[in-house]
């Protein structure tokens, strides 16, 4: 018996060791590179790069696109997960597959398809121009691309949880005459709130960092259609390594803040659950 306990302890520390090593090499070192490069020429250069007016404009645009994408995809995620797990219908597998498709579509292709639809070569373009709506190489295109690449994130997180909690409680409530919204908010929501939070965090993180698809659709207009990742690319292409890494570090900091918020909320939630 003792032997086995030792054995499992060895396994435990071995696995923890592997994980730590893996994350250290794959995550900590690259971040370390970002930070050291950003601060290579001292604090002042860093602050200057971060408070540059183009950087601020890029930051605002990134936030805007991220918020819209997260709202859209949360609505979609809730609806789709509810529809898929609570009802039987034909083509369910196809539907879930289609929702997943954006994650695996190359960002380049994601950008390309919107160019084909809304770009100058499209049959829609004359109408859009008449209506004075510019989609590609303008903010709406960037938002669309961001929504696209993060499309299934919330859905993916909700699906397994909704599936595993089953429908018994909800059915009971429905039979007792509860309305849809009440069922959702009183019965389902408490079960899925952590999964939902996970999903939103993932979605936000991914939306902030999206590069490829947005890059195809942005046109890189300085101060107008540059998101933070694009701004990093531009700085990099201008040999401004230090500012490029400084701007990347904003994204890293945003991500870290986001993850801390999640972790705190989660911790509190779990405590609540225990009481």
């Amino acid at each position: 018996m003792k032997n086995r306990e030792n054995e499992s302890k060895i396994v435990k520390y071995l696995l923890i060791g592997i994980s730590v090593l893996f994350l250290f090499v794959m995550l900590v070192l690259p971040l370390f590179v970002v930070v050291t490069e950003a601060l290579k020429k001292g604090w002042e250069v860093y602050v200057e790069a971060v408070t540059d007016s183009y950087t601020i404009a890029a930051l605002m645009l990134t936030l805007k696109a991220t918020v819209i994408a997260v709202v859209c995809n949360t609505v979609l995620g809730l609806c789709a997960a509810w529809a898929v797990t609570r009802f039987q219908f034909k083509g369910k597998k196809l539907l879930t597959t289609l929702i997943d498709v954006p994650v695996t579509v190359s960002p380049i292709i994601a950008g390309l398809i919107y160019l084909l639809i809304f770009g100058k070569q499209s049959i829609l373009y004359p109408y859009l121009q008449k209506a004075n709506v510019q989609i590609v190489f303008a903010v709406p295109g960037i938002v669309l691309a961001t929504v696209f690449v993060t499309f299934p994130f919330v859905f993916r997180e909700l699906l397994p949880v909704l599936e595993s909690i089953g429908t018994d409680e909800e059915e009971a409530a429905a039979l007792m005459g509860a309305k849809g919204w009440t069922i959702f908010s009183k019965i389902t929501f408490p079960h899925i709130k952590w999964a939902l939070l996970y999903g939103i965090v993932l979605c936000t993180a991914r939306a902030m960092g999206e590069f490829g698809a947005v890059s195809v659709l942005s046109g890189h207009l300085r101060g107008l259609t540059n998101t933070l990742p694009l701004h990093v690319e531009i700085l990099f292409n201008e040999f401004q390594y230090v500012p490029a890494f400084a701007v990347s570090s904003i994204l890293v900091i945003m991500a870290v803040i986001l993850l801390i918020i999640r972790s705190v909320m989660e911790h509190r939630g779990k405590k609540e659950g225990e009481v």
């Binding site: 100058k120 709506v133 590609v136 890189h220 207009l221 040999f239």
Partner: protein, 340 residues
């Protein structure tokens, strides 16, 4: 409960609409009377940053209007493609005539743009040189050194980088001269050269990064202005070698007629390009290591630029159309280099 629900629903709807209209209102250059968009390629940022300032003053003097110039930089071919796809550029200032021709073919630039401005509508030029490590440890002097077995070359992919086509053509120009226009030997030379390429980056800037930051290779085939920038940043690390023969790279500029007409910015767009030929603008070009087309001003900077190099123009290769088909199209010479 229902009241609350209703209220939250209304709130959500209002928020949604607000977000949508906020996104769709495409309002640019607030605060100025007028703005124009200049779509350019990667390495011209500093150049146009300085130039836009003097142009703003110039335009204010002429007309009393405040003008805002919004810049976009990226790979030359990609930028042309975006203009074709609806990027609202008033003027394009790209690396290759070929890319502007593509916009013309899409019907957005009137034919004959090349004759609109002096010197083939190229207000500044550049050339292709070698950047080597300090002290030139591999003793690289000219193009034939690049095909030595012990030399590793860094150059971007001419298929993905417009600028890199000039690199390729500069090598081709050397081969033409060295092998007296014997095609098979010239192809052999180019093949050997690209077999020595260690990293074939997708753009000029990432090639520079591979060479400068990551220490790959012995020689970087680079645009002269970029090479100067690298040396300026790390004078103890790199030096420039001027080969015996190279190309006269003419980055072209043009007004995108369709967009400018639509937006009513033709005058300002034309003046924006015209003013590039003024003495002040030419000096700004020279200070950013582009060779000014104004001979007088070029001479002022003769200590910077090597004016003795033999420079071939695109016409020596029978124009871009021909070059494109022969070398870079699918199945062209460049593809054959890597075909077994």
């Amino acid at each position: 409960m229902t009241k609350k629900k209703l209220r939250s629903l209304c709130l959500a709807a209002v928020l949604g609409i607000a977000a949508f209209t906020g996104v769709c209102s495409y309002d640019a250059g607030a605060g100025s009377d007028v703005h124009i968009i200049n779509v350019s390629y990667d390495p011209t940022r500093e150049l146009y940053e300085s130039y836009n300032k003097i142009f703003q003053e110039h335009w204010k003097e002429e007309t009393g209007q405040d003008v805002d110039v919004i810049q976009s930089h990226g790979g030359s071919g990609k930028q042309a493609l975006e203009v074709i796809n609806g990027l609202q550029a008033d003027v394009v200032t790209l690396a290759l005539e070929y890319d502007i021709n593509a916009i013309q073919d899409a019907g957005m630039i009137d034919e004959g743009w090349k004759e609109e401005l002096p010197d083939d509508s190229a207000p500044y030029t550049s050339t292709i040189v070698f950047l080597v490590r300090k002290g030139n440890p591999k003793n690289i002097q000219d193009w034939d050194d690049l095909i030595r077995d012990d030399v590793d070359v860094i150059t971007p992919n001419p298929k993905t980088s417009g600028g890199a086509r000039w690199n390729y053509l500069a090598a081709w120009a050397y081969a033409q001269k060295a092998y007296n226009n014997q095609e098979d030997k010239m192809e052999e030379f180019i093949k050997k050269l690209y077999q020595n390429v260690l990293v074939l980056d997708s753009g000029a800037r990432s090639a520079t990064t591979s060479f400068v930051e990551n220490g790959q290779g012995d020689v970087l085939i680079a645009w002269e202005n970029e090479a100067f920038l690298s040396v300026q940043d790390d004078p103890d690390e790199f030096e420039i070698i001027n080969p015996s023969i190279s190309v006269l790279a003419q980055p072209s500029v043009a007004v995108v007629d369709e967009v400018a007409e639509n937006r009513g910015t033709e005058d300002i767009a034309k003046e924006y390009l015209n003013y590039l030929y003024s003495d002040d603008a030419q000096r700004i070009a020279a200070e950013n290591y582009y060779r000014p087309v104004n001979e007088e001003i070029l001479k002022e900077y003769s200590d910077v630029f090597d004016l003795t190099m033999e420079l071939k123009t695109i016409d020596d290769f029978s124009g871009w159309q021909e070059v494109q088909e022969k070398h870079f199209a699918d199945g062209g010479i460049f593809d054959q280099i890597y075909g077994n």
